[in-house]
Amino acid sequence: MMGMGNVNLATNAKNTWCPGCGNFAILNSIKAVLGALIDEGFQREKIVIVSGIGCHAKIADYLNVNSFYSLHGRVVPVCEAIKLANPELKVIGFAGDGDTYGEGLEHLIFAAKRNIDINIIIHNNRVYGLTTGQYTPTSPLGFKGRSTPGGTKEQPLNPLELMMASHASFVARGYSHGIELLKKILKEALLHKGFSLVDVLQVCVTFFNMYDYYNSRVYELKDYDTGNYDKALKKIKEWDYDSDSRIPLGVFYKKEKPVFEYALSNKNINIDAKIKELLNDYT
């Protein structure tokens, strides 16, 4: 059990998520995880969160830590830059499924491929909420949204399978019902050195209420080896975001490998002298 910690991480901003929204679970989980980290001695000023645009993104207003409220689809490159600029920072990106599996997908693939030490948490409600109910890259086949009243004619993406193909070093799935498991997964992701992706099945009660559907299918991965790529991929394929199979939750894959980073810059460079030297070489 993890409490909320001793630090108050709330802001004065009024929360405007719908009652029952799955985003509350993510907000409360991350508050607990960050609170615990701070209690354990991690400096609060070294935490930076980044959000995109969509219902999920309001989390930047609700968490009283350093934040960068970015653009739709552009959580990942901002996270990468902040981490590369200052490797001491703990960088957590919150993004939507339309946001990062759609608009900004290429960034996600490249961040995974680079293994930059950032944490990406996807509020995957499988519907556009803030634009009032259109299909997203992970909506099931036949999803009837406002832009597809006759139902979608395209297969959903299995984002975790894609992350495995992109060499992500930490791949997990959480669920907005059952906060203890979510906290556990988020904490493990934050402690992982390297790129981590946590796909959170976050229910949108207004436009795509999947609580009953998920509740009858989810199960937690137990006695499971997170270090085996092939087994992880197989487990990830158990549910393809369309079929009515069981839905595993937890960490599928975790591997330590070199991270993309820059050595801390040498601050004692005499720029003027170096420029002069270089110009001499060009003479």
Partner: protein, 555 residues
């Protein structure tokens, strides 16, 4: 001979580019000021590529149409460029592969075989022959070769000497008593200027003509402790830049029009979130892919208005390598002082042209420190102040919660939709523009050349500086260059035009973008000289254009 041009031509992949730089360095060593124009197609192998190396006693920033020496490594080189040859011009050609009824034929193909050298070394051989023909000693050639050629130097010198021995002297290039200057491209000048401005991170997706900045900075990254990043696309470039800016890293990005299209959402974010980012925008002819390896000035309107919403931007269009260096530094400094995006608008002519770079003429550039948080009270990233500038703190600064936001926000950076606060925050951001404009009075933001009291002015922006200044001087015209275009220094611009009755505006586009921009300020332009074939103006061409207008002008 103290003012002459050499043209070297061949196929893409023949080493023309490198050879032109070596030729430039040879004449640099004997005291000449150099400008190199590069003309190449968008291919890796084949196609016709050429460079013109212009050498002069005086500083020059443009090439001429007329050439005095033509170095022909293939038949096209003579067939395509014969019309450029002056009366006393000399053709030096490879007699084993090129037919010419005049000039100096050197059996380069045979020499290369005899020396067991590589095809690429035909360049070295013809440069050897050129040195002999123009009375330059092998000692100068050897010095330059040793400094600029890293592979197979002995073999290169061997074939150069064989070319030298088989040629004869046609003219004597006078040695000048001037010190050699560094030869650098506009891209390198921009890179150095950014470094001088405190650059920590450069991010770019390769795109002609600004890739040279990326390559240069990647090469010197270790020396200057820079992070140089080539991400997946220009959207990532700009958003990464925003992230670096947020953490306090002085950051710049480089691109051309097409890439800049992808950057505009990030540019607008930079305006809203007050994240300083410097953009190097190298123009080439559009629309769309256009002519990727040629030049144009078609992005003025775009750079002035790119990005949704209304926000202050600093926009500067340097005209040569020294201005590129100077204004790259200033752009970085002002971007950070005012927390705005800055755009350095250049073009292929400036980006890829090689210049004799006179660092001393630039003088000292004063650094400007941004306003940092004094650590008193509660930190507010967007504190509303008299001049609109809020103090900066960066993640990991103790006791500060730093919230930046793409939404309209309050002083603390929390999203708002309140109507009154919206106006207050927009006004806060725009107040910075007024103070920036005031600060610009300390800088030479509008430059004047030529005959200062003339009643006819030649108006230009950017790389047209070379031909315009030369022709303005020759024809006794006043020459006016607005260097900063946003915020527009109207006061200084009107000052520069005092006494002028007629204005001729010179631009590398088909609509006259500066002309149209000035209409907003009630500045009337009498004549336009426009060129939009992808090639820069030459002084000869511009003189002809001006002469046609001047015969018609009545004051």
């Amino acid at each position: 001979m103290d003012n002459f041009s050499i043209l070297i031509a061949g196929k893409a992949g023949d080493g023309i580019d490198k050879s032109s730089l070596i030729i430039g360095h040879i004449f640099n060593q004997v005291g000449y000021r150099i400008y190199i124009y590069r003309d190449y197609p968008s291919v890796i192998r084949g196609g016709h590529t050429f460079s013109i190396i212009r050498c002069s006693q005086y500083k020059i920033t443009t090439h001429l149409d007329t050439v005095d020496v033509l170095l022909a490594l293939n038949q096209d080189s003579i067939d395509f460029h014969k019309s450029r040859l002056g009366d006393k011009a000399l053709i030096i050609y490879d007699s084993t592969s090129v037919k010419s009824d005049e000039g100096l034929g050197i059996p380069i193909g045979i020499i290369i075989k005899e020396a067991k050298a590589l095809e690429l070394m035909r360049n070295s051989c013809i440069i050897g022959a050129m040195c002999k023909a123009l009375g330059i000693g092998m000692d100068v050639l050897e010095k330059v070769f040793r400094k600029n050629i890293s592979r197979e130097i002995d073999l290169n010198l061997d074939v150069a000497f064989r070319g030298f021995s088989q040629a004869k002297e046609f003219a004597k290039v006078e040695k000048l008593k001037q010190k050699p200057l560094p030869l650098i491209t506009g891209n390198e000048a921009i890179g150095l200027g950014l470094i001088k401005g405190g650059l920590k991170t450069y991010i770019s997706y390769p795109m002609t003509p600004s890739s040279g900045v990326l390559h240069f900075l990647a090469e010197v990254a270790i020396d200057f402790s820079l992070k140089v990043i080539h991400p997946e696309n220009e959207i990532a470039v700009m958003l990464m830049a925003a992230g670096f800016s947020y953490t306090g890293d002085r950051v710049a990005v480089g691109t051309s029009g097409g890439g800049f299209c992808l950057m505009t959402e990030g540019l607008s974010l930079s305006g809203m979130a007050e994240l300083p980012i410097v953009v190097v925008l190298g123009q080439r002819p559009g629309p769309s892919t256009g002519l990727p390896t040629y030049t144009g000035q078609t992005e003025l309107n775009f750079a002035l208005s790119a990005g949704q919403g209304e926000f202050t931007r600093f926009l500067v269009a340097p005209g040569d390598a020294e201005e590129a260096y100077y204004w790259s530094t200033i752009s970085m400094n002002l971007a950070w002082k005012y927390q705005v995006p800055a755009i350095i608008l250049c073009d292929k002519t400036l980006n890829e042209g090689t210049y004799s770079f006179d660092a001393e003429s630039i003088g000292k550039i004063k650094g400007i420190e941004p306003l940092l948080w004094n650590k008193e009270g509660e930190y507010k990233r967007y504190q509303n102040t008299e001049n609109g500038i809020s103090s900066l703190a960066f993640p990991s600064d103790k006791d500060a919660i730093i919230k930046v936001n793409s939404y309209e926000h309050n002083e603390a950076g929390i999203t708002i939709e309140d109507k009154d606060l919206t106006v207050i925050m927009q006004d806060k951001r725009f107040r910075k523009e007024r103070y920036l404009l005031e600060e610009l009075e300390q800088y030479e933001v509008v430059k004047v050349y030529g005959k200062k009291d003339a009643s006819i002015a030649l108006l230009f922006w950017g790389s047209n500086k070379g031909p315009c200044v030369e022709i303005g001087l020759k024809l006794g015209l006043k020459v006016v260059q607005p260097v900063v275009l946003s915020p527009f220094p109207l006061k200084q611009f009107k000052e520069a035009l005092k006494g002028v009755k007629k204005i001729i505006c010179v631009e590398n586009n088909s609509t006259g973008q500066l002309v149209n921009f000035l209409k907003f300020y009630n500045v009337h332009i009498d004549h336009k000289i426009l060129k939009y074939d992808g090639r820069p103006f030459t002084p000869e061409e511009l003189e002809q254009n001006c002469a046609n207008i001047l015969t018609k002008v009545t004051l």
